[in-house]
Symmetry: C3
Subunit: 338 residues, 3 copies
């Protein structure tokens, strides 16, 4: 697999400075790249490595063009251009050994034009769009609809009736449409499970990371809108709605009926409580707890700073007494807020 530099320039709409006929057969970091490989400079702090790079071409912005020791592709957003080029060399393991081997596919399923690997279960009235690839050991229950150009890795489960748009990429071990965590307490303090009748509805161009779980809605649906990016081991509870192009890092948990806006960036291991809403364009840093609605765009944080264990013990002693310290010092909240 190789391309001329001109072909790559066309793909990323770049100004080419140098030899368009040089052949590119891979992509690599500036300091590891060898002849035949293309690299990129997206962060000025790596500029030093540019001068000595052995890459056959570098994608960079015009401000670094003068320092480029080899063929240059000038673009306004080098990182985005790198993302585009990376797909030229991607190596998804798409082909099953033999199509449909040991797969149980109901005769009512409409899967023509899709590739289904071995060990899959495909239930009644399932629709899988053309050019979609379903990896080994996936389970697609009755009445699920999957759009064109989907890529499912291995061991994915989509429960009854859930819907995915076009071009979704679903990593291994993902569970879509599990029952929500709804329980009513009985008089004897035992729990009665609520049967969930909603679905999960996922838009176009959504990617979901490994072992992430998305519960179905109680009555209405759980919704993941177009262009959302979900990392690994995320939990999305019943009736959550995630707005377009919001990206959420690994291990974050979102409780029931929370509504997230568009273009948010939620860090890893963030906890978002239920029944709140987050505005568009909100950034929440990693490991924060969002325990109330966030109504304005901005960057938010809430985690305890790391210390030596000894310091933490000393600080903790006073932290848990802050209200009493204020009392001793005769500080009043109104003094502070004025």
């Amino acid at each position: 697999m190789n391309f001329t530099l001109s072909q790559i320039a066309d793909l990323i709409d770049a100004e080419l400075i140098g030899d368009g006929e040089v052949r590119i057969d891979g992509i690599n970091a500036l300091d590891s790249a060898k002849t035949g490989q293309i690299s990129y400079l997206a962060n000025s702090k790596y500029q030093k490595t540019l001068c000595n790079s052995q890459a056959s071409a570098v994608i960079l912005s015009s401000s670094h063009a003068d320092s480029c020791p080899t063929n240059a592709l000038i673009v306004s957003n080098p990182y985005h251009a790198f993302a585009l080029v990376s797909h030229l060399f991607k190596q998804y393991n798409t082909a099953p050994n033999k199509s449909n081997e040991f797969s149980s596919i109901d005769s009512s399923a409409k899967v023509k034009g899709a590739i289904i690997s071995s060990g899959c279960f495909v239930g009644k009235n399932v629709t899988i769009g053309k050019n979609s690839i379903i990896g080994p050991n996936c389970v697609i229950e009755d009445n699920v609809v999957i759009g064109d150009n989907a890529h499912f890795f291995a061991n994915v489960v989509v429960h009854r009736g859930c819907q995915l748009g076009e071009s979704c990429v679903i990593s291994s071990g993902v569970v879509i449409g599990s029952e929500g965590f709804g329980n009513a307490r009985c008089e004897d303090m035992s729990w009665k499970t609520i049967a969930h009748m909603g679905k999960v509805v996922i838009g176009n161009d959504v990617t979901i990371g490994a072992n992430t779980t998305i519960d179905r809605g109680t009555i209405a649906d759980t919704e993941i809108h177009n262009g959302v990016r979900l990392d690994n081991l995320i939990h999305i509870a019943h009736n959550v709605i995630i707005g377009e192009n919001t990206a959420i890092a690994a291990k974050t948990g979102i409780a029931g009926s929370a509504v997230l806006g568009k273009r948010c960036m939620i860090g890893g291991m963030v906890g978002i409580v239920g029944h709140i809403s987050i505005a568009d364009d909100v950034v929440v840093n990693a490991t924060s707890t969002v325990d109330k609605s966030v109504t304005r765009p901005g960057i938010y944080t809430g985690f305890f700073p790391l210390m030596t264990h000894k310091s933490w013990q000393k600080v903790g002693v006073w932290l848990i007494k802050l209200d009493k310290i204020a009392k001793i010092l005769k500080i009043k909240l109104k003094d502070i807020n004025k």
Copy 2:
């Protein structure tokens, strides 16, 4: 699937006001319900939507009966009644395309009366009770015992010798009986893994959410008692014991040998350290850390409040110096505690 309102009234032991012959074919929220659907009012803040609801019947408490514009079912706990009714309309995807297709079931397994879907592995001397349903691609290792009326979704793994009572609902991707995280340090600072000989023993009417993991005990067993509710992506370590009817929300982690009481409610993403105990009827709010035993019932919290990142930086500077501030101010702990 439809029922007369009288049939539903009988199921939930309700007082029926109106027409018992009206046919109900679904359940919906007050503001979305259409003719033929039943709804419920469990929270007074939704009372406004009651007046204009198009539902053919509403489950509610006697205090709201006067405001009901349609047929009413009067009960003392409408949310619990809704839970009961939801099961009339539930649509679990229970039927395999063809029973036992591509499933490897050892001839010594006792699975008569259970339904086993495709792609499953069932080992030696396994017992699965009657009316139990094992979804696609589940792995049930040697000597496992599963009671009657179990519902396993897809890709569940139960390791050797573990035991589940009756009527358990196990979501997709759950792993029961994985090895505990026990390692002894060697002189050269490498680790020697401890082989775990305990089991996981699970009571009746337990539900476990998607991709949750429960480790087996080191020597004694890990125990999940009757009526426990576990949400998605929870980790239960070796030798943990969880008391009856305790409910735990998603992403919580419980370290080795912790013992939780009965009827506790543990929020999402709570961290519970090992070798501690939590009393009956304790509530822990989401994202808290439980680093010591909790001996009294009550509501507990411990997470850093969310702020704008700028405020967090300003506050943090002082937080990590609290002990030194106390020193400057000449405040002593004994002044506070008196």
Copy 3:
């Protein structure tokens, strides 16, 4: 399965005091052990249970030898000796019902000498070493290399090209080599996924807990070095490097390009941000956030202490005003730091 006490003494290099011919058929805690079982005393706080133990032999250090009521095996590290002995009685469920039943194994795979259970997918040019056991429903994609003596439980996925050394133990539901969470923002605020070309490279004697996910590198590889111990539901992002013999407890998340040293012990549910490094021999307590590099060995902590919810509300009011309180009190940072 049983052994003479002399055989066990040889295995753990112990001084035997008592009858070497007694037969041992199991291992148990001091207070539960019965005739024929061996126990151990690794923590002085359990010394009381030693006197009344019914065990036929006890592993302990010389300092407790005098109190031992039965045959004794004296060693310097009883917990480590227990770990060794536990493997005599381990009961991994290794045998498939029938080898290769319903498994799709490409003819180019080199798997001679390995045992592959039912329902597996093994892609092109895969190598699996001798005496390795692959449990049911595992998916091993093209070009993966797995060393000798590996033990894979069920439903493990290893994506294209990843490499594991010898004697690795991989728990059920683990995903190795999923795509990293790399996305470039486009002008219209949508995301372009970066195709990941790196692998995951795992050393010898690594154990990985259930449902843990390890992403492949963007260009360079994600690396897990020899002897690392990973618990359940951990997330390791793209290009992370974890040094030899580091142990990480359940539910911890490590963001992209973080580098951890050797012999670290990271508690459960710790969040480690990206692009930082942690020195050798660092201990981080559970549920802490590591938001900057840790350059010195030591014990570190950072979580909010648990309180009653009422206290937490009172303390929180003052916590979020700490900078303003300092201002009112006219305390300056330079006063504190001197």
